[in-house]
Symmetry: C2
């Protein structure tokens, strides 16, 4: 078990059938030493790729993106979230449907900060249905940039996002994959040898 997996087992709280509450260390209060370690883990996995930018979505991806980008020695960029359709012409944008909240929002990245020369590692705190990753891939495509890989803190293995991305040949690395959350009990997927 890596540090994140241990923390999930120790502190994660299952709410209902598919919400894993980790805001005591990941997305409200932040265990910065843990997230620094996650940045190192992403670096160890992706370091042979020509990554020159780490992209994420505000707000809970920012900490992960910063520590990962520090390790690569490259800038981080966070896509901004908004709820209006009119976003102007100086940004790339995509609509993302949030299954958790049941509404759509729009993510935007200013054209200045993503170009055809960029080789992007996208990182985020959760992967469930893959809606945010889908939106980010649209933005990367609009910019003509190259997606080198996706690094996720917690993948919900019982939801389809991860499988869809892997089937498309995307290099997806999740630090923890939760395969089951039943009656409050969390089951993590074993690591492949």
């Amino acid at each position: 078990m890596n540090a994140l997996e241990r923390k999930i087992m120790e502190q994660g709280v299952v709410v209902g059938k598919d919400i894993l509450k980790v805001d005591m260390f990941l997305n409200h209060q932040i265990d910065v030493e843990l997230i620094r370690q996650m940045g190192e883990d992403f670096y160890a996995y992706f370091r042979n790729k020509p990554i020159n930018k780490v992209l994420t979505v505000e707000a809970s991806g920012i900490a992960i993106a910063c520590f990962t980008a520090l390790k690569f020695g490259v800038p981080a960029v966070f896509a901004k979230k908004g709820y209006h359709k009119n976003v102007g012409s100086n940004v790339y944008s995509a609509e993302v449907f949030s299954f958790t909240k049941g509404i759509s929002y729009r993510i935007t990245v200013m054209k200045d900060y993503l170009t055809k020369d960029d080789h992007v590692l996208f990182v985020d705190d959760f992967l469930a249905n893959g809606a945010a990753a889908e939106g980010i891939m649209q933005i990367i495509s609009q910019a003509g940039a190259t997606l080198e890989g996706i690094g996720i803190a917690i993948e919900k293995g019982f939801q389809p996002g991860g499988e869809k991305l892997r089937e498309r040949g995307i290099d997806l690395y999740s630090l923890a994959i939760v395969d089951q959350m039943e009656e409050g009990k969390i089951t993590l997927r074993e690591h492949e040898q």
Copy 2:
């Protein structure tokens, strides 16, 4: 000149009379090495205080809070922003008026992550009228926690927030103070000897 001040002079763009655009390194694209250095600077200034938590407001404060918290070896917590009044009973909350956008929003911190035992360093990217700092101080007061100091990346010295906080005896440390932005030219305040 410190690293942030040099970066402001090299890359900052004045828009109109009072907007300083620094989203190429601070609040959209993030120069993580610069922000890591800012965390070290805040630590050097505040390290004799019994700080056990670094607090900020999403989204642009998160990177600064993370690198500062890492240096102190304590957790970071970010207040969440929302626009509805009904925030439930498990959070501390305050209303913040944004002079830039002309609207009010609400910041919230879950009660679990701020208690009367906490000694808080509040950090943020900008200080202008001090509205966000005011909201954070209300939240700290609701929790019965202690504000040990405020660390700001860029203070607008020509707006009243900084002076108001210093007059109240708050230990405020701004890495860069912009005293004037006229006809596109940025004037930084000299450091006291």
